[in-house]
């Protein structure tokens, strides 16, 4: 009931909204000793999946609270049912709502875009007209479209829309499509993290820290260090990075993986403007605007 009220509230045109509601989670037996982890994992399992009771795809959650100390077991079921109250950001497109996305594929009669960097929306040339707006679409361009068909039941949501408007970004620059690759991290239920410092510096710090700790380890042979040496360093950094993070339990090695991946797999965006820092715009005598990058050299805009 609550959902429907809120749905009507969003019918003024918002497809993505925060919903506060009660959800029933199942706690499997192997989590009985680690209830917090169990609840966290169950909540993370709802991300990027269609939830029937919320009538949409969950994108984030926060403020998870257990409603009562007890759970219930029914019949011969092996799991415990817990009532949990949380805020969910639910993506609930409906026919007629407007979505804003970035074009990621252009072809003869079809423009595909990514909404919220995750959901694919295809905008076909439904009418078959010769002067269709989509013929001018460019990769990386921002686009507003209006939904004509929605089917959220499959593994991948199917959304069809018609183009309302093609946007022009500032300076005629379009967001580079390569940057979309980083969002794939979200799908596999890893946290959305902003690197606190630039990846290079972080890696060097880690390396020297690890070396020192390796030496220590060889001397002590202490048995209570179940965690590996890099874990200790990373734990402190983890607290800094907490955004409205939907992840409660984080496998420690993920920063390492992410760093390595970003640096070495060549998937770093090729954008001229380094994203991670807020760079100050300078101007030289000729009137050209530029930023300083990590090495100290100028990057002209």
């Amino acid at each position: 009931m609550e959902i429907e009220e809120q749905m009507s509230a969003t019918s003024k045109g918002e497809a993505c909204s925060w919903v506060h509601c009660v959800k029933e989670l199942y706690l499997q037996p192997h989590y009985f000793n680690q209830v917090q982890k169990g609840v966290g994992d169950a909540m993370n399992a709802t991300i990027n999946k269609y939830q029937g009771d919320l009538a949409g795809v969950v994108r984030q959650h926060k403020n998870v609270k257990l409603l009562s100390v007890d759970g219930t077991i029914t019949d011969e079921e092996s799991y415990i049912k817990l009532q949990v109250e949380a805020d969910f950001e639910v993506f609930r497109p409906f026919v007629g709502c407007k979505l804003k996305g970035v074009v990621n594929k252009v072809s003869a009669n079809n423009v595909s875009c990514l909404v919220h960097e995750l959901f694919n929306v295809s905008c076909p040339n439904a009418m078959g007209s010769d002067d269709w707006v989509g013929y001018n679409a460019v990769l990386g361009q921002e686009i507003t479209c209006q939904v004509t068909k929605v089917d959220l039941t499959g593994r991948i949501p199917y959304i069809r829309a018609s183009i309302v408007k093609l946007h022009q970004t500032e300076n005629g620059n379009h967001k580079h499509f390569n940057e979309e690759e980083e969002v794939e991290e979200i799908n596999l239920q890893e946290e959305e993290e902003e690197p606190v410092e630039t990846p290079k510096k972080k890696k060097k710090k880690d390396k020297s820290g690890e070396r020192a700790k390796e030496k220590k380890k060889k001397k002590h042979d202490s048995e209570d260090e179940v965690s590996t040496t890099p874990k200790k360093k990373r734990k402190s950094k983890r607290e800094d990075v907490s955004s409205e993070s939907e992840v409660i339990e984080i496998p420690e090695i993920d920063i390492l993986k992410a760093l390595k991946r970003k640096r070495k797999s060549g998937d770093l965006p090729d954008s001229p403007i380094p994203k991670s820092k807020k760079r100050k715009l300078h101007m030289n005598e000729a009137g050209d605007k530029f930023y300083y990058d990590d090495d100290g050299g100028p990057i002209f805009v």
Binding site: N33, N48, N104, K105, S107, A108, N109, N110, S112, L114, E117, L118, F119, N120, S122, P124, N125, A126, D151, G154, R155, I156, P157, Y158, E180, E181, V183, E184, E185, I186, N187, L188, E190, K203, D206, K207, E210, E214, K217, D221, E223, E225, V226, T228, P230, I253, L256, K257, L259, K260, R261, K264, S265
Partner: protein, 605 residues
Amino acid sequence: MSILRLEGTPSRASLAGLTPRVHFALPSDIDSIVSNFLTGTDKTRYQELLVSLKSASNSDENLINLLESCYTNVNKLDERVHSLVIAILNLNWNSSSDTLASKFQQFLLELVATHTYFTSPALESLLRKFYGFGDEPWPSTKPSVKEELHFSRVHETINQILKIIPMSANVLLQACDICFPFMKRGSRVNQSYVYNLFKICTYRPEMRSKILSLIIKKVISIDVQIPRKLLEALDDDEEEMETDAKMDDTETVFTMDDVSRSAASRITSVVDTNMQQQLAQTLDLLMEQIFVFIKEFCSRDADENEIIHHQSIFMDFLDIFEHQLLNVHGSHHVQFCMFYLCTLRPILPELFLTALWSKVTRMGENAVVRQTAAHYIASVVSRGRFVSVNATRSILQQMSKWCHAYVEAQQDATICDVKMHGIFYSVCQGLFYIVAFRHADLVATEKGLKWVQSLGLAKLVTSRLNPLKPCLPAVAQNFATVTRTYQIAYCFTVLEKNSRSQLPTVSLSGQQTVTNLNCFFPFDPYLLNRSAVFVNDQYREYEPLEQPGDERSDSENEETFGTPPKESLPKCMSPGSFTHLVSPTKLSRSLDKFSYGSSPGFKAY
């Protein structure tokens, strides 16, 4: 399925050239066919199209034209013409020309971008291309050039799909599981599929841990099906064939054993053995692929990043080990992936041992898991050359400290009951096993000897809990020899007493006690040939204690041997296969006859 469709046929061009065939050119007006079908005016053309798509004799140009028209009319190909789309997806687009492949790729990407519900069938059809073609396993670890070209096209397509549709990552993982070839399907199919899955890991590193866990799961299910005895028998047969050629004069003496063995194998059905041999070959190839992947992954970059690669892949494997391998009974070879990982870097075996030991000592953990972890510790420390003496000492220290604490806590224990004290007995057996194996290293120095004495092994052996009783006899005997030689403990009285007490005992609760430990030596000798190269140089074989008196008995007159003593431990054998009948040829070659010295009173052993 039409009888005309044949998978893996020679290329279309050659087939077409063979005999004059009549085939219909594929239509290129897809939009009219589809719309006619949907409105119901003309269904026959649609169905003819379906049939002709399944035939293997479509020429490249036909297909290219068809794909062109499909590409321009992608909007029409929605779920109502599902079967047409599936038929197009299943076309054999692997041709020597690049045009067809690129047209197909273009069409496929357009299809999944427009109709996202086709992502799953599209990915599955792509993954099925990873089965490759041909029958014989690749002689090296890489496919032929032609296959490599084909695979790289498929990989490119998959990569593009993942870029365009971010949510398809989960779909891909599910599809990898669905399309995994059945283990008995053939070794080359499995080899090819696993090779390509590892390739996916290289350009999609975030999927690596899930793909690894899928592969290991499948390899485990093959490994547990092959009994160790079969592989040993195969090995023995090979070696016997070699030695029989060399030692003809002794052949007659040993025919009895040969006959009995061949009779036994005749009784078990030939089909079973063949199937298991094929499974063994599949397992061999898959283990090879895993080792090669680890090796290549770790040596990809310059040195500064190596430690990060090593650690990240080690953590992946450790995770898989804890969730899957520790819970599996009867796996023989899969655990060697952990063994191989430990050889890469000195810190990794320490991490491994720490993780295992924490499993053993964790109170809330499942008892069977704790015992298995103790067995793993014993096996790794004994068999791995990469485990340094310091690490050995430290783990022995921890184990003996724990054992002593346990004994003190169990002051009122009177009987040896494996069910109640299973973990304790496993740890003790591990302790004895390690000491028996690595005695040479441990007592190399004077200080070492004193240190071993400080472990308090004598106290353990003579405690009321009697840890020697449930141990495997071979382990107990060897341990007893070693400790007697170095005068650390005197176990023979205990052993004698144990062997005398045969009466079954009943515990207070009324249940019969179990007095034999369920033994499991995970790192027993590796029996698969092709992949053994990765493991063998870091694998420690059993080195028996050499006595000055032994040289005398190692002489050539073998008639005095007669029946081999029960407790001998020839080189390539594992204590776990203690009941295996020792082949006399092996015995004559391996002079590791167990004896412990020149003291005359114990010759009876």
